[in-house]
Amino acid sequence: MADLKVRNLKKAFEGFSIIKGIDLDIHDREFVVFVGPSGCGKSTLLRLIAGLEDVSSGNIELDGKDITEVAPAKRDLAMVFQTYALYPHMTVRKNLSFGLDLSGAPKQEVKDKVENAARILELDPLLERKPKQLSGGQRQRVAIGRAIVRNPKIFLFDEPLSNLDAALRVQMRLELARLHQDLQATMIYVTHDQVEAMTLATKVVVLNSGRVEQVGSPLELYHHPANLFVAGFLGTPTMGFLTGNLGQTAANACEVKLDARANISLPLATALAPGSKVTLGIRPEHINIVPAGEGLLSVTADVSERLGSDTYCHVRSQSGEMLTVRVRGDFAPKFGETLDLSFDTAHCHLFDDSGKAIDKRIQSAA
């Protein structure tokens, strides 16, 4: 079992508040990813859980036991660092057994555990090598192996793939997902890479300037962002935003008067008064380019990025906002060309003045 509870956790460095009150529940066998822009406190939160930093206030519970003040080594957690932090003068075998040797575990038990971890990670042929003789991916595996031998309740990963090249990162990502399945382990993983967050997580925690913005499964966050920050942070290319005012509202629909000289009716119910300022968000794949005159919105084409399978057209609305449209790979508008767009209204997101999502969907009500 590994149930971690974080309650009202706060951390300040020399008066600067980094973590501003976080509540979080992590359940057994979950793969939780902390994601957020740099400086949002995700690594600090992980280090607080690991015990490498002292908590300013609040508490951390593991399986009902308060571990806020417990020494890092006694928390039953193991951490994998971004730079791997292997001991350079020790062989792979010694790196793996170091913690167990220190704790005075019986020789045979240490040997078994090390060889078991080596087998899981396919490190057997490398056991007598020094870290400098290994490639980046192999070093990463040794670092993970060092965590496995300790048989921790929770694995902590601090941006473990950031130092690898792109191809290796994809491969290690798959290996990590497989490892999570094989070990049936609870893992907490910090990254700034939303692809890692989306692909690995069973639960994503989006952090921003020391606060939790939203917690949920990757697709839940993608389809139902709770606020403008989450909406803008997840998804590549990012969601486009258009400002406007609320027009007439009905029980199952509302009209939005966009600043970009267009009116759009959305199947959303809102309690906001007509005339309130709102922001409409729409992802690139939910915008279509339609023949002139049939569109909802008339825009000017900016540059386009052609990826082969898709083309990302960046366009500018009449009020100057930038939108990205995802179209077929063989389509590329000329720079400065006028395009007509239509929106997939079922996938439009609406945010109120404070950035919170207006998310009473008619479909879910039905």
Partner: protein, 308 residues
């Protein structure tokens, strides 16, 4: 054009221009080669020559070839064995003191965060910048002096008879003076090396249950192997030829108690005016230094050349 011909090592078809480039290259480096030859070979040759003739400044007209007689005299000189042993003791003790205390002091400095750490660092390193003669005189007159020295005052405070350090424990006193000068060098190197130890390694060890002592033993010390090797190599080179500290304090005495080889050679050449024997002594010292260097490279050279 000529330099590029040298740098890029052109294909075989261009052998002519390459040959020309080689010639010009030799021409260009010849001044420094000549200077080095003059600097190294001429003094060595002269020393070799002097060591085989009778050459005493007191008897300028007697300059006959004597073969290896000078070497024999030097090796059988009553000062030779004590000098050689003192040299070894001096080098060994100072190395031991500077490495052990260097590691401990720099580890302590790295471990504790306190106000004025920057100043303490500078003060720890500053003895290295004081001229050997000056520091020897400081120790002689302010610390070791049996009447006005600090140690004498301490001894008197406890009611003990002050010790005349330089007369009663001459070699020990000189080891203290030289250690005082060379410990800062070790601290300087080890302190900077200590700062380059990866913090995440320490944190990983902490998570695995390693306490401060285990971290020091299993992470810090292995990390310092290379800088310690550097300290030992460089200090050995300089400590073999310690002279000013002995000259300004004990003059090698009493007897030969604080004479090392460098001082013995000086003694032969400039106090007894026997240039021939001093040259022989110099050559013997060169041989001893080379043996020491060889042993050192065997012992610690591996950690220097090992890629990390």
């Amino acid at each position: 054009m000529t330099t590029s011909a040298l740098d890029t090592s052109p294909p075989a078809t261009q052998t002519k221009s390459r040959k020309r480039g080689l010639k010009i290259g030799w021409f260009l480096v010849s001044p420094s080669v000549l200077l080095l030859l003059l600097w190294m070979v001429v003094p060595l040759a002269m020393t070799l020559y002097f060591s085989t003739i009778r050459y005493n400044l007191l008897y300028p007209d007697e300059e006959s070839f004597v073969g290896l007689e000078n070497f024999e005299y030097f090796l059988t000189d009553p000062g030779f064995m004590p000098g050689a042993l003192n040299t070894l003791t001096l080098v060994g003790s100072v190395l031991l003191i500077s490495v052990v205390f260097g590691v401990l002091i720099s580890a302590l400095l790295e471990a504790c965060e306190f106000w004025g750490r920057g100043i303490v660092r500078v003060m720890l390193i500053s003895p290295f910048f004081i001229m050997p003669t000056v520091s020897a005189l400081l120790w002689k007159n302010l610390i070791f002096h049996p009447v006005s020295g600090i140690l004498a005052a301490v001894w008197k405070f406890f009611g003990a008879q002050p010790v005349d350090w330089l007369a009663q424990h001459p070699l020990f006193s000189i080891i203290m003076i030289v250690s005082w000068q060379w410990l800062p060098f070790a601290i300087l190197l080890l302190m900077t090396a200590m700062q380059s130890l990866d913090q995440e390694q320490k944190e990983a060890a902490r998570l695995e249950g390693a306490g401060p002592i285990a971290i020091f033993w299993h992470l810090t010390l292995p990390h310092l192997a290379r800088p310690i090797a550097v300290v030992v190599m460089i200090e050995t080179i300089f400590l073999l030829s310690i002279f000013a500290e002995i000259f300004t304090t004990t003059s090698g005495g009493p007897g030969f108690e604080s004479t090392n080889l460098a001082y013995l050679i000086y003694n032969q050449a400039l106090l007894q005016f026997d240039v021939g024997m001093a040259s022989a002594g110099g050559l013997i010292a060169v041989v001893i230094a080379n043996i020491a260097a060889l042993v050192l490279i065997r012992l610690i050279g591996k950690s220097l050349t090992d890629k990390q």
